[in-house]
């Protein structure tokens, strides 16, 4: 990942010009949805909403990987942590997500071995260092994370590290968009498509979704000017009645994506139906390990006793994730539900919509 900023895209003058262009072009009231947690954070952190005309409503969709993870999967993570001899390795923002009965942070407090890692490869190293323990990596994330996890499983297989496994809860974006568009209560006039995911899968991966629905979709980068540029393109397409799939992030995204990453995913993973919080089960929207690597699938390795999954009472995350409600419309927002004491996952993850509203949005 490049550490250098895309400084020119942070240029305040460029952003102001784009905002002006949007203000001039926008006539019709439109609802635009981003489906990427990093977009959510960038939009809030840059105060971008305050530059847009009233005609434009920005919605956050199911773009935060932690938030869309189904309750049953969260319960399985907790159950894994409770399993004797298991070291659970996870990205940090899963720690506080409330399961039906407990969460990973609480389990760690009770003495269970739960470790935060930055990459699946860290997890593999931990497995190598602890040959007498079972090390499970919680595979949560979109097409951005899946290739690294695939590479890790491949490395584990090659090195014969048998005490390593992955709990596969990866999800893919295009089927979710398809499902969103099919939902009657979701009224979205255009999509900001996720930059990082698109680097991997390429613009063409969305083709079938956008060819069938007559809704515009524009791939966007992460700097404020990237986002404003993409919003300007969406607004122009809508005003001119020519919805299409377009790429406003060509410096990083190409039509066909990253062939190496895609090949890796294809070799080790296959699509499965997957349950999303808020969206239900979506056909072909998950990834699991193919048969040849199935021994690395934690679901096959461990018999877990799971509670009847119960989403947090009163939490509107499901509706937040589809844009049907905004966080201030949840009665628990800022009252019982805060980042310190989150009720639902959308308040837990730094990329969650409720957390972003809480941190950055004046009441």
């Amino acid at each position: 990942m490049p550490l250098k900023h895309a400084e020119e895209y942070r240029d305040p003058a460029l952003a102001r010009r784009l905002a002006e262009r949007i203000r001039q072009r926008s006539r019709r009231p439109v609802r635009l949805m981003e489906v990427c947690g990093t977009h959510t954070v960038s939009i809030f952190r840059s105060g971008l909403r305050s530059l847009l005309p009233d005609t434009i409503t920005l919605l956050s969709g199911p773009g935060c990987p932690v938030c869309v993870t189904a309750q049953a999967d969260i319960d399985a993570f907790v159950a894994l942590a409770q399993t004797e001899g298991v070291i659970v390795t996870t990205f940090g923002d899963l720690m506080r997500v409330p399961g039906t009965r407990s969460n990973l942070l609480r389990e760690r407090g009770r003495g269970r071995d739960v470790r935060i890692v930055y990459s699946a490869f860290d997890s593999l190293r931990i497995a190598r260092e602890n040959p007498d323990r079972q090390v499970v990596f919680l595979g949560v994330g979109f097409e951005t994370t899946a290739p690294t996890v695939a590479a890790t499983v491949q490395a584990a297989a090659q090195a014969g590290i048998a005490n390593f496994s992955v709990y596969p809860a990866h999800k893919t974006v295009p089927p979710a968009l398809q499902a969103l568009l099919a939902m009657a209560e979701v009224a979205v006039d255009g999509f900001l498509l996720p930059g990082h995911v698109s680097v991997i899968i390429g613009t063409e991966a969305y083709r079938s979704v956008f060819d069938t629905h007559g809704v515009p979709g524009v791939v966007a980068g992460f700097e404020p000017a990237d986002l404003l540029g993409a919003i300007a393109m969406l607004v122009e397409q809508i005003e001119e009645n020519r919805p299409q799939l377009a790429n406003a992030y060509p410096r990083a995204v190409c039509d066909q994506g990253n062939p190496k990453a895609l090949a890796l995913m294809k070799t080790l993973m296959r699509p499965v139906d997957a349950a999303w919080r808020g969206l239900g089960v979506i056909a072909g929207s998950g990834l699991e390990l193919v048969e040849a690597f199935a021994t690395f699938d934690a679901r096959r390795r461990f018999v877990l006793e799971l509670p009847e999954p119960q989403e947090p009472k009163g939490c509107a995350c499901g509706q937040i994730l589809t844009g049907a409600r905004t966080p201030p419309q949840c009665p628990l927002f800022r009252t019982r539900c805060t980042p310190m004491d989150p009720v639902g996952p959308c308040m837990v993850s730094s990329e969650g919509t409720c957390a972003a509203y809480y941190r950055y949005h004046a009441d």
Binding site: M1, P12, S46, L51, D93, I116, Y118, P224, E351, H361
Partner: protein, 336 residues
Amino acid sequence: METHTVLLDHGAGGKLAHRLTTELMLPILDNPILAALHDGAVFDLPPGRLAFSTDSYTVTPLFFPGGSIGDLAVHGTVNDVAMCGARPIFLSLALIIEEGLPLADLERILRDAAAAAQRAEVAIVTGDTKVVPRGAVDRIFINTAGLGVIAEGVHIGGHRARVGDRVLLSGTIGDHGMTIMTQRRELGLDLPLQSDSAPLNHMVRRMLAASPRIGVLRDPTRGGLGTALCEIAEQSGVGIRIHEAAVPVRPAVAGACELLGFDPLYVANEGKLIAAVPPQDAPAVLAAMRSDPLGRDACEIGTVVADRPGRVTLTTRIGGERIVDMLAGEQLPRIC
């Protein structure tokens, strides 16, 4: 010493403990009050109101680019005292050591603490050592307390920000927190990060000489700049408006933050301060900050305002506006 690690006996008050004190600690922390080895320090104080503060320190790793737990424990408390507008004079130093800590590490930590005290011109005049069984603490915990004297006419407090005050910041933010964060885990990142751990009392002295009317001083440690500003806004019942473009962040810190999904506004600092200063005095105080080696990048980042009392508002680089809230819970790295 014959052994190479700290043993339980070292803290038991017997012969080993005595040798640890006389052979290792005293020569390093050399000063006459401590050398008297009384149960407590006995000293005279200059006239004036006193400021007294204590804090406990634990950090992983113990040694990191730019510092160690030894200097952190001195700087932290020196800075807390200095943020009361006081000149810190004396410190206490108490160690809780996990049995098995290499003596070489202990010696290095003590040397760092001694050097930090010397740099801050404070004396460590009393101390204590406990050794606890393996697992009871994580290698070493340090507590320090500090005593300082406040000059006549100086009144500093979180509730003293006034509408119109300028908000000054002494330098780049997030250096300490991101250094520790990237050291702790194997990120595979090779970034030129370094903790900013440093004593701020000399800078405070220069600032107060430029204007004794400074209302608020605060070092934005845990919780970062954002949280510190929110606390001031709340305690003073005022609004604070800051400009993102004015807040300096090193590129390596910004890069690491971006990668992990952190907001530098909430990342810890150990050698930075913010001040709320009456507008007519702001240029002189800023010049005083910049004349200090630790304040070369000092700048004005915003203003105390009447609207939205208790709230901090940020004008972003692109001219957008958003609120800055207190940090709620530790920032945890996101899925990337």
